[in-house]
Each structure stands twice: as C-alpha cells, then as structure tokens.
Symmetry: C2
Subunit: 234 residues, 2 copies
Amino acid sequence: MNAHPKPSPAGGDPAIVLLSGGLDSATCLAIAREQGFTLHAISFRYGQRHEYELDRARRLAEAFAVRSHRIVEINLAQFGGSALTDPGLEVPKHDSVDQVGGDIPVTYVPARNTIFLSLALALAEVVGSRDLFIGVNALDYSGYPDCRGPYIEAFEAMANLATRASVEGPRRLTVHAPLLHSTKAEIIARGLALGVDYSMTLSCYDPGPHGIACGRCDACLLRQKGFALNGIVE
Amino acid sequence: MNAHPKPSPAGGDPAIVLLSGGLDSATCLAIAREQGFTLHAISFRYGQRHEYELDRARRLAEAFAVRSHRIVEINLAQFGGSALTDPGLEVPKHDSVDQVGGDIPVTYVPARNTIFLSLALALAEVVGSRDLFIGVNALDYSGYPDCRGPYIEAFEAMANLATRASVEGPRRLTVHAPLLHSTKAEIIARGLALGVDYSMTLSCYDPGPHGIACGRCDACLLRQKGFALNGIVE
C-alpha cells in the first residue's frame, strides 16, 4: 500500500476491470493501477433501476485515465427475478446493518457476475489481456452466491478452457478478486491509501433524484459502517 | 432413439435449450423433448452477420411448441475479433472439408458459448430449471475451444457455485451436451429418427440473400458431409 497515489504506469500488461461505479470496484481499479496494469474498464447497462452508477463509473474511468472504457448493454431485466431490475419488487430497507445477511436477498440478480465476467472475458481475449479484476467481497456483502471464493476459482478454471488462449497461449488467465477477504472498512482504508476519491462512487441500491443515496438499503448500511470504522462520516 | 417423433410431454421439468437455428441445436431440442423436458428455448441476436438463423430458430421453436422462446440482444460485435460479427473480416471458403480444422479459425467469436451459457443460466434460475442443453460437438466442428468436453464440465462446475440453487437448492444443475462425441452424420441420423425437419435449419456462416447457404464455408462443408454419409443430398 502507498501513502500517495502513483500515476498509472505506461506500457503495463492490459487488465480488464469490472467497474460498477461503486466503492468496491473503484478500489479494485486503484489496486490494478498500483500493480502496474494498463486499465481497460467495462461497465454494464443491464436494466438496473437507475443510471447514476454508470455516471459514476464514467467519472472514475476518466479520473483513472483508463486506456478504454466500454459500457455494454445487456438487459437482465427481461429475465426478472431481482429487485434491482424489476420495478415491481421493492428494495428492502433494513435501517440496521444487523439485519443484513442470512438468506439470499431479493436484490440478487440471477447469474449477474457470471454474465459480467463472461463479457469481460470476451474483451480480455480481444485486447490480449490475461487479467480480470472484480471487486467482489465475501465478508461485508449481501449474501450473493457469486461473491464467494470458490465461485471465483471455478470461473477462472472455466475461463482457462474457454478461450483461444487455452489452445494457443502460454500464460494462464487470472481472475483477481483482491477484496474477497476484506471487510468494508479494510477496503476503504486500502482505497484511501491509494488515493481513491470515494465521493465519486455510489453504493446505494435505490438512490433518489440526483443519485442521492437512500441511506437505508443493505449497500448503504455496509458502506456507512465501513466509513465509520475508518473514523469518517460521509 | 425413436422411429417417430413423440409429442412433447406435459409437465416435465423445465430445460433451457440454446437454439441457434442450426442443425446441432435443432437436434438438441429434439433430444431434450425426447427426454421429457418442458422446453424453454433461448436465442441470441449477438451481432451476427445475418438474421436468417434467428428466423430459423423462431420456426423451430414454433414447430416444437416450446413453452417459451426468448431472443436476447447482446452485441458481441462491439468487441470485434471474429469474422462472424465483423463485416471487415472475410469468412473463409475452403471448398474442401479436408481444409477444416487445425488452428482456431477467424469465425471463432471470443467467449461466445460462455456468454450464451451464462445468459441461459440466468434464465434457468428464473424459471426454476436445473438443466441446460447446448448442441456443441467436438468431432466435426470448427476447432473452437468452447466446444470441448472439459470446457463444458468446467462451466457446469462453475454454474453450480454461481447461483441461488448452490446455496438453497437440493439438486445440481446439469449442462447437457448430448452431441459432444457425435460426428455430424451421427447427429443427423439421430435427429432424423426424432423427426427433426432439417430443412428448417441453417448452418451457413455466410448465407446469401433469402438465407441461401454459401455451400463453401466450414459449417456448410461439415453439414454436406454429414448428410452425404446418411445418403442424403440436400
């Protein structure tokens, strides 16, 4: 970890970073930069309830001077089954972080990380990258199955059999999940040390007008707790 | 195998069948029906050079009286890298089946089967299916990495960690690839026995106006050979 952000090095190996515009993916972007990769960001307009997070993703991509930033359209709302894409389902407001966790919540989007990583894999293949970064974490999270270590390992194993590189290439593809075993507070501490401006990020599942966080959904509660443990009130 | 097609049984477990409109996926649909599944077909408008195969997929879905047929939009052309989606790249015409195979050809679409299976996985989760059918085969094929057995097994392993079912459900998800070890001639023989009308299908990578097959690309050559070995000239 660095006390001050470094400029992005020129000529590093290309990495694909999944960038949602949230706190975790912003931190991931900073970590990939710190490790010397040339950054290619990928975001998704997947039928989420709001566009604010894509605005944040664009701002972050610009701030990090990424080599490329693609916003891929894939309508997951057509499948239904999630409060994040179905206006008919309400995003739960827990009002207490103690109520987060347990069963898989209604905000889970079926197969979302698998779809996103698959599209990132296509981009990796085209830009000649062997490194994907995803900001999942399995501690302070909402209980989604596709945010766990064994899932990430299984995706990596599959990816190494799926692509041109598996036949022709000498080097394995790696799915980096550098936040997997971090608490939200640790993630924030790491990002701050790397110079992440978290005011650019949005974590809320259900923001109001102008992207104002609701302060009461799982994502807001986990974020507040993480900042509080770093002695910060946003 | 049956000498005559059976009607689709009512009330079978739901299966998701990837339906391209080609010969293999049509056969797969017939096999899933034969096994008693309630059929949910999924096709993709992914930036392919032509719409003809989607017309064929629609006709097949109707002929098989599937429970549902979704055509999902996902623009893979934006990533580039394939003659099947990039009008700037030419589809090779070999004029001889002996020239098929070897290195991965320019018609390979990066991560295509991974993306398609991932979207099928989302659909499976929403309709409560534990069975995906994909018509890949690793014998008479174009040499794509994502048409091989170890890849399919790795996808299945990943899928079983990716979804709600992996946390809550009692039954494993299965990726069926019933054509994996069949020659094209065997696939056609099996489909004919199950009553598949192959005149509905289109295999050509680069058809002319009205969906007339070119007769010279890899897919056409493999198809011709398969029919010839069954004593049929299309």
